[in-house]
Symmetry: C2
Subunit: 117 residues, 2 copies
């Protein structure tokens, strides 16, 4: 019987060595090495985080804030390096979500089986 | 280089065969097999879910609802089989959280490294 932590570290290694992670790393480092790109990306991130936090706290988001967020998104989408980075982030998100679904399947089956009774 | 999905399925197997999951399964099946315990547990779950959803939607939670939730929690905590189940759920949650932290470490390192610059 394989130990859960051993298997988890094997999986971590697989993530780290994957083409998806290596491509993300390259894209991230390219953005961080470019002062203007880095600032645009940080602005984008901060705007997203701010809105998420407001939403989670049940605070109202003003029309101006929505407009500002849209503009920041448009700006980063026009930047080749940043849109490449966001594309790689998206790919890794899909991968991590798949992995999460796989490893929590035993729980889903246990709880789901009862649901159907 | 190990494939991510192969490693994820290995980890799923390790979760499924773990003592923690087997103990959770036993505890869950014991509650589900007892009509009264099952009803109490379902009530508890539904109350928790309802409050969570309201919170996420930024809706106000009344004092009566808080009181009701407290009573439901007290009730299930006094039930041996249900408190055993909740204890096992908690153990598996810790395990799954540990695993999540391990497999997302490459990402944390990549983003964290830049943060410190
Ligand atoms: Ca059920
Ligand atoms: Ca930074």
């Amino acid at each position: 019987m394989a130990n859960i932590y051993d298997s988890a570290y094997d999986l971590e290694k697989a993530v780290r060595e994957s083409q998806e992670f290596q491509d993300l790393k390259t894209a991230y480092e390219a953005v961080m090495a470019d002062e203007i790109a880095k600032k645009m990306f940080d602005d984008f991130r901060n705007t997203q985080l701010e809105l998420q936090q407001k939403q989670m706290q049940g605070m109202e988001i003003t029309e101006e804030e929505v407009e500002k967020a849209k503009k920041v998104v448009e700006l980063v989408q026009q930047h080749d390096q940043i849109s490449k980075l966001m594309e790689q982030e998206q790919k890794l998100n899909v991968l991590i979500n798949d992995v999460s679904r796989i490893i929590t399947k035993p729980l889903e089956e246990l709880y789901g089986a009862q649901e159907q009774q």
